[in-house]
Amino acid sequence: MEIILSILLIFMIIGAIYALFAKDLLSALISCGIVGYGLVICFLLLRAPDLAIVQVVVETITLIIMVAVVLDSTREDLKERIMIREKESSYINTKYVFNVLTVLVLALFFLFFFNQAIDKLEPFGTHTTRMAEAYIENGARVTGSANLVTGVVFDFRGYDTLGEATILFTAVVGILAILRLRGKT
């Protein structure tokens, strides 16, 4: 399973990188969709169907809205920016070298500490926190819910769910306050 997950993750990284460099904004959006739907398959492989359902629906809705926005505005990247880039091409080379060097140094740095930390971890698939055992053993008995995720989300972690619902509410309030042409008279 880890091999399939790795292949999926590599596909998602390729899609994200292509989305950055695509000239056409619509194809950039479609390659963003690779990331989202690849994440759905990852969730399904990791046995999290609750998350997979939410991810597939929200990904579809956001993709529809973003495609509508792109089809309404300009599809192509603006030509002027490309012209400016060509004019300043002598600067860009040194910038690229510096950026790539920084990324490589940081990657090596993190790889070193990741390698040190990974020895302390449990094998893949086992949980390390002590709280999880109590949830898994007593969850169904205490909450009476057959689906453990809902039991944890709405009973043990009720405050978290209240916070999530409030976040969504605040987002809608912000959008309704900003998205208008003139103030209310």
Partner: protein
């Protein structure tokens, strides 16, 4: 906002009801099968968005829909908080106390308050996503006018 072609209209007529039923199923069976309030609410919002995109309405109807959707959003969140606060009044003095009887594990009517929480969150998420979509559509209509 204009509607789409007759093929899209017919297909969305056939499918939207099934999507709506599936969303209700996901919300109501949240404590038994994978899913719950958030997933089911998003599916319900998808059914509404499909109808609006396929058929298209004028801006007055859209504004009316937006008012009702934001009303239901507030009511959903309010119901969620009220259900949680009722634990203060009825049972032990604990926020988010599951004070209803638990029932048989695996039955549809079981797990005390959790199905009610699911329904409240489902209404809230559905109305919130639909309100965001309607706000974007209304903004576009106002700009193009």
């Amino acid at each position: 906002m204009k509607g789409m072609s007759i093929i899209v209209k017919k297909v969305s007529q056939l499918i939207a009801g099934i999507i709506f039923l599936y969303g209700i199923y996901i919300v109501l069976h949240g404590h038994l099968t994978p899913g719950g309030g958030f997933a089911g609410g998003a599916i319900l919002a998808g059914a509404f968005i499909l109808i609006v995109l396929a058929f298209g309405t004028d801006i007055i109807h859209l504004k009316h829909d937006e008012e009702r959707a934001s009303l239901f959003e507030g009511l959903g969140l309010l119901a969620f908080i009220l259900l949680a606060i009722l634990g203060f009044i009825i049972g032990i003095k604990v926020f988010f106390n599951n004070y209803l009887p638990k029932g048989q594990l695996g039955e549809l009517v079981s797990a005390g308050l959790i199905p009610l929480y699911n329904i409240a969150v489902g209404i809230e998420v559905c109305a919130a996503l639909f309100t965001i979509f309607l706000a974007l559509v209304i903004y576009k209509e106002e700009i193009s006018k």
